[in-house]
């Protein structure tokens, strides 16, 4: 493994020593991770811990997308921000924390609302995408963009005391539309602003999203493709579900897809891509 270690500097070998000595990770895993990139969409309750553990582990390039600014009521769960960065764009607040921890990571903040006009341009530059968003419209947008570009999508969500995690569009596993061809009725969708969330719950899910992304990038192995992890934080229990494979009838990843380019997802879902207003009026 002398030879493989060539991809790492002396400082990197020292810094990541506790990972390097894991036989299942090793120098090879570290070099793969260093040569990889991930895009974390949403610098909130899920995105903060996910980005933090990806940066700590030594990912090469880390993109962060969020259009929002830090508010005081974010700080109970969005742990990359601080009292001093209230009113600062979240991606800038988060990047500053990440760089303090690991200046070797190339951290790229996108202070924009992801939409059909910019999603493909941004996503195509990354190996894996983490969905850490807070609304249905952006989840369909990310799904379709990842299918069109052939990127795995590590999708986390959290609300109240519950969390969910799965990886879409990877090695024969389903995409979001394979599971949910139609969006849910807007009145059944609750976000964290309305429903509340205990901060440690997205903390757990965000750490697991980082773990899955690291596994995908360093070992080309998915833990959550075609599986759904359910976390019930009120009971402290987890459940791992077997999901259907990719569906031939899927509108975007199926055999004769009707969705071949990005759409208007706010209209498709009947709801806004902002977490601040729940339903947009269509009529």
């Amino acid at each position: 493994s002398e030879k493989k270690a060539e991809g790492l500097s002396r400082e990197e070998i020292a810094r990541y020593g506790r990972q390097l000595i894991l036989p299942e990770f090793g120098v090879e895993g570290q070099v793969s991770l260093k040569q990889s990139s991930a895009l974390v969409v949403g610098a909130g309750g899920l995105g903060c811990p996910a980005a933090l553990y990806l940066a700590a582990a030594g990912i090469g390039r880390l993109g962060l997308v969020d259009y929002d600014t830090v508010e005081l009521n974010n700080l109970h769960r969005q742990i990359l921000h601080s009292e001093g960065t209230v009113d600062v764009p979240k991606v800038l607040s988060a990047s500053a924390s990440l760089i303090r921890l690991n200046s070797q990571v190339e951290c790229i903040p996108y202070n924009v609302a992801l939409d059909s006009s910019n999603a493909l341009l941004i996503i195509e530059q990354y190996n894996v995408v983490l969905d850490a968003t807070d609304n249905v419209a952006t989840r369909y947008l990310l799904n379709d963009a990842c299918v069109l570009l052939g990127k795995p999508l590590v999708s986390g969500s959290a609300l109240r005391f519950e969390g969910q995690l799965t990886t879409y569009n990877y090695q024969g596993g389903p995409c979001y539309r394979c599971l949910f061809p139609k969006p849910p009725p807007p009145e059944t969708v609750t976000n964290c602003s309305d429903g509340g969330v205990l901060g440690a719950v997205p903390g757990v899910v965000g750490c697991l999203q980082a773990l899955e992304a690291i596994s995908l990038l360093a070992k080309k192995k998915s833990l959550y493709s075609q599986k759904l992890l359910l976390f019930d934080g009120a009971a402290g229990s987890f459940r791992l579900i077997n999901l259907r494979p990719r569906q031939k009838s899927c509108n975007v990843c199926g055999e004769s897809p009707s969705v071949t380019q990005l759409q208007d997802y706010e209209q498709f879902c009947g709801s806004s891509a902002s977490d601040k207003t729940k339903t947009i009026q269509l009529l």
Partner: protein, 100 residues
Amino acid sequence: MGERKISVEFSGGAELLFGNVKQHDVVLPAREKRWNLGSLFFWLKDNLLHERSDLFIQGNSIRPGILVLVNDTDWELLGQTEYEINNDDRVVFISTLHGG
């Protein structure tokens, strides 16, 4: 077909339609017809649902955004509404979360 004793569980917010109770022990009475998932849905709607049946059933199936699992497996792998219910099955309805 004899009675069926099963566990029915709700999570992700679907429990809010069922008195905010996540786990229910359910006995489906003996009857001539088979008990399959499709008939369970309507039995739940008539016997366990507290409110807003349109937020649970739409048309002949479960509304978009709710996953149905039997014994930790996606119902899509089991024949969907046609899956025949066995004693001790654990049927779970999960409303997908979108928060972060």
